[in-house]
Symmetry: C2
Subunit: 151 residues, 2 copies
């Protein structure tokens, strides 16, 4: 049973890492890639944040545009967390990303799901609907950062 | 006539810069944002490059996925070229971006158009069609970099 678990875990790791590993010329590129995606995402999410917190006037079209970009970009960073990229650059990645791959993958998928809901909520043009989806997304960001990102 | 040209130019600059300026907390964020978008784009474009040059096996689905991301990301960098971001960070931006805004905007639009064609070409699954669109896109990248980016 233990051996099977090991093989299953190895297979999962391989499935997660093989295509990603082929995508970057060097580990630094993978780190830069995931950080670039996260930064772009944070900028667009921040614009929605400003609106839901009342720091900026609510503009449904702008909110929807930003939320769509957040949802699209949320698909990208994960390929950058390939094996061998736990050190390098100014990465804040915790080792748990690689030692707890199933949990990490689960949080990645949760973010993609929540940002898709955010984009759908933004398209309704209803600020309260947007606020609820924003909070759910922000919580998802935070729980993943708490578990997998150093301060 | 000269005055009108000046006013028209000022209006164009304002139209180009006002929404962008409101989007970033500080100039460094704008520079980091545009560089992040360009980097992500280069990574995905590079994967198509590897396929059309024969360095990687042609996989129509992978090519289409990458081309779609290139087309989506091609819409992003421009907001980052807001006034006051000609210096700072490790920017390679040439002053011509701001002194020749109409020409710069034209190249931005050309890239968006060519990457949309690239995405459509990739979806055909035909390598020769993809190659033609890839070359047209690469030429567009190069002409803008030659005119507006320092080495």
């Amino acid at each position: 049973m233990k051996a099977f678990t090991c093989i299953a875990a190895a297979a999962t790791l391989l499935a997660l890492s093989a295509p990603a590993a082929a995508q970057f010329a060097k580990p630094e590129d993978a780190i830069k890639y995931r950080q670039s995606a996260m930064f772009i995402q944070s900028q667009h999410f921040g614009r929605i944040s400003a609106m839901v917190s009342g720091k900026a006037p609510f503009d449904a079209t702008v909110a929807a545009d930003n939320a769509t970009i957040v949802a699209d970009i949320s698909k990208l960073p994960w390929a950058g967390f390939m094996p061998g990229t736990d050190k390098g650059g100014n990465t804040k990645a915790k080792p748990e990303i690689w030692t707890e791959q199933a949990k990490f993958k689960e949080t990645n998928e949760k973010l993609m799901a929540e940002t898709a809901k955010l984009a759908a909520a933004a398209k309704t043009g209803n600020l309260d609907t947007l606020k609820a989806a924003f909070t759910a997304t922000a919580d998802t960001c935070k729980s993943c950062h708490d578990a997998f990102r150093n301060k």
